[in-house]
């Protein structure tokens, strides 16, 4: 008997039944295919303004830094300013994202693509943000390499306020909505809540374990469509 049959058989035997009949299968299929949200905490359910201030508060609490910008065009300048404050060279590795690529990066030494571990600063676009815990949703794709989220020491993430939602469930709903396939998940979907950390040595909290030492979030309050 294969291990697969052994395990599934054992599960059924222990639960005291055979394989599911079609009727109960249909109920389970329905639960699976029309996902319902469970209880969603109230804290993230305010209006856009409340969500933004909650997001900033929660992200800052976990040692991220946040700058609020009026327009996407201001991103290169804000990045340059941040790098100067951190006493870093003006060198960045950009995700190949259309919204980032259309900006004027001429004042910085900017290259594009995934990271092989030699980049000190990575700049990416967030797919979304969830106010309830100040978390960023970052998805893999041609415009968003996963290596840029984990290898550089300084992780700069651009989040459009329009992509900020109250809770995780809203992001899952959007993923489903935007995909016309049943396989709507990217290879990697990461929720990022603050910069990397560890408390493995004497329970002392230290930032910058294996992932980024710093997380800087640029929130774009005007998503570009209004102006």
């Amino acid at each position: 008997m294969s291990s697969r049959d052994y395990i599934l058989g054992r599960v059924r035997w222990s639960l005291g039944r055979g394989a599911f009949e079609r009727d109960s299968c249909q109920q389970l299929e329905a639960r699976l295919n029309t996902p319902q949200s469970n209880l969603i905490p109230k804290r993230g359910q305010g209006d856009a303004k409340a969500q933004l201030s909650l997001f900033v508060k929660m992200a800052t609490e976990v040692n991220a830094t946040v700058s609020r910008l009026k327009a996407l065009e201001n991103v290169p300048k804000a990045v340059a300013k941040y790098l100067k404050e951190q006493e870093l060279d003006a060198t960045v590795r950009l995700a190949d994202h259309p919204e980032l690529q259309k900006l004027d990066w001429s004042k910085l030494d900017a290259s594009t693509g995934f990271s092989t571990g030699d980049d000190l600063v990575g700049v990416v676009m967030a797919y979304a943000g969830a106010a309830e815990t100040g978390s960023l949703a970052l998805r893999s794709g041609a415009d968003s390499p996963t290596t840029l989220n984990f290898l550089p020491d300084y992780h700069i993430v651009v989040l459009k306020a329009a992509d900020l939602v109250g809770d995780y469930e809203a992001v899952y709903a959007r993923l489903r909505r935007e995909s016309n396939k049943t396989d709507f998940m990217p290879r990697t979907l990461s929720w990022v809540t603050g910069p990397s950390r560890t408390a493995d040595i004497e329970q002392t909290l230290l930032l910058g374990a294996h992932g980024p030492r710093k997380l800087h979030i640029l929130v774009i309050e005007d998503n570009g469509e209004a102006s």
């Binding site: 209880l39 290596t147 990217p186 809540t193 004497e202 910058g208």
Partner: protein, 474 residues
């Protein structure tokens, strides 16, 4: 790791005298528990979320075969592979065969308790591969060649001097005069050493906190980012998980994630919660070419529908361990099992058999704190009690203990005689102990008085006091 659970008493006695260990454990009682308390207090829905988390796991376990098959199907649809392992031998072989098929030499590993259960590192080493643990705590204990002492903080038993010693012994290519006094220095060195390993690895092995049937995704929850580097950089990503890690939908997973980190470390959310679905997709600039999920049973399917069924709800947050007065006193190694603390004392006998782990169900004061803080409300004390009952029925109880219990039971079922006897005994002990308020030694109580004094009764039994108060609390 080899099971060494019959020596709990000896191990515990040693642990209590180990000054380094006691210094390491001193912080535990206030650290995680206070943070959990604060996080729970901040979220008004926390208790209701715990109820839902319990119900989601209950539903999934009742229909586990359905969800396992759905998950398998979805992983295959998204280009991944599912491997079923009935026991650890099976699991190890699957992992090695995958490594061999791609000609792997070095393997990076994210933290995985299933990996510990399989002793996958020892196995791969025997086969000539070089597995490298990348979670800082796991890396430290791998260098020291010892098992983890806690399921989420594996090196919690160590002082920083131990870490320094291990690094100096292993990182011989670095200048010996370098300064490693501060935790920051140690972290910096580990980060630099492991960075090279991440990039060189052929295969990355991670665990999984959850498997999602709807999408065929596996989920890891970490703070360091090592798990993400482990699963993104190598050509092959292998996920080790066990059957009970299943949840139906992304929404169900969201609910469990809201109670996981808060219960574990008191964080609102862990730093990185990453969902992996299949290998890298057509346009992806990075990510692994192969995605394999190894689903281990190792005795769990036997637990379904039986006394320890509810234990399969466990999401491995470690809240029960962090709050356990026994764990706080003796640390994780004393248990001699892969999973320490209250959850381990239920799970270990279920997986390995009661004969192999007879002390564990007794390694509890039955204070009930574990159940109180469990995010999925597992009745741990009740299950420990059921193990004790089995022990009583099936044999491995010393003859003197058995005799003493029989004598007690004889009187306990004769309440009038019992209360009369107890009244006389309490009055007598009350009189004898009036002067000191305690006894340094007492007949039939050597095991107690050997390490602490026995407080003298005040002359009345509980039953007497209770009826004097008319059966009311105050």
């Amino acid at each position: 790791m080899k099971l060494n659970a019959h020596n709990f008493k000896e191990n515990a006695a040693k642990a209590l005298k180990d000054e380094d260990l006691q210094a390491s454990l001193a912080k535990l009682g206030t650290g995680f528990p206070l943070k959990r308390l604060a996080a729970a207090a901040r979220l008004p829905e926390f208790e209701a979320l715990r109820d839902q988390a319990r119900d989601i796991k209950d539903h999934t376990l009742r229909h586990l075969d359905f969800y396992l098959e759905k998950f398998e199907c979805k992983v295959q649809e998204t280009g991944g592979h599912v491997h079923w392992a009935r026991d650890i031998e099976d699991g190890r072989k699957i992992v090695y065969d995958i490594c061999e098929s791609v000609g792997a030499k070095t393997v990076t590993k994210g933290k995985s308790m299933i990996g510990e259960e399989m002793a996958i590192n020892e196995y791969l080493e025997e086969k000539g591969l070089i597995p490298v643990e990348t979670d800082l705590g796991e890396y430290i204990i791998q260098l020291r060649n010892e098992p983890p002492s806690h399921i989420i903080a594996p090196a919690i038993h160590l002082r920083k001097s131990h870490v320094e010693e291990a690094f100096r012994k292993t990182h011989t290519e670095l200048p010996p005069e370098r300064n490693l006094d501060e935790p920051e220095d140690l972290l910096k060195e580990a980060r630099a050493m492991l960075r090279k390993k991440f990039i060189a690895a052929d295969v990355g092995i991670t665990g999984a906190n959850f498997m999602i049937a709807e999408t065929g995704s596996t989920v890891i929850v970490t703070n360091e980012g090592n798990g993400d580097l482990t699963q993104t950089l190598p050509r092959v990503h292998i996920v080790l998980c066990s059957i009970e890690k299943m949840v139906p939908n992304l929404e169900d997973c969201a609910t469990l994630l809201r109670v996981l980190a808060r219960s574990a470390t008191g964080q609102e959310q862990s730093v990185y919660t990453t969902f992996s679905t299949g290998p890298k997709q057509m346009d992806d600039p990075d990510g692994p070419d192969q995605f394999h999920v190894v689903i281990l049973d190792n005795g769990r399917s036997r637990m379904l529908g039986h006394d320890t069924h509810d234990m399969l709800r466990c999401i491995r947050c470690s809240a029960c361990i962090n709050h356990c007065p026994v764990y706080q006193s003796v640390g994780g190694h004393a248990y001699g099992s892969i999973y320490p603390g209250p959850m381990g004392s239920v799970l270990t006998p279920a997986i390995y058999g009661l004969e192999q782990s007879c002390d564990l169900p007794n390694a509890s004061t039955m204070c009930g704190k574990c159940e109180e803080v469990c995010p999925v409300r597992i009745p741990i004390p009740q299950m420990l009690r059921s193990w004790r009952e089995k022990q009583w029925e099936d044999g491995p109880v010393p003859i003197l203990q058995r005799l003493a219990m029989s004598v007690w039971a004889f009187w306990a079922v004769r309440p009038k005689a019992y209360h009369f006897g107890a009244k006389i005994k309490m009055r007598l002990l009350g009189l004898l102990g009036r002067k000191n308020g305690h006894f340094k030694s007492l007949l039939f109580s050597k095991a107690w008085t050997k390490s602490r004094d026995f407080p003298a009764p005040e002359g009345k039994t509980f039953q007497q006091l209770w009826s004097e108060k008319g059966g009311r609390r105050s």
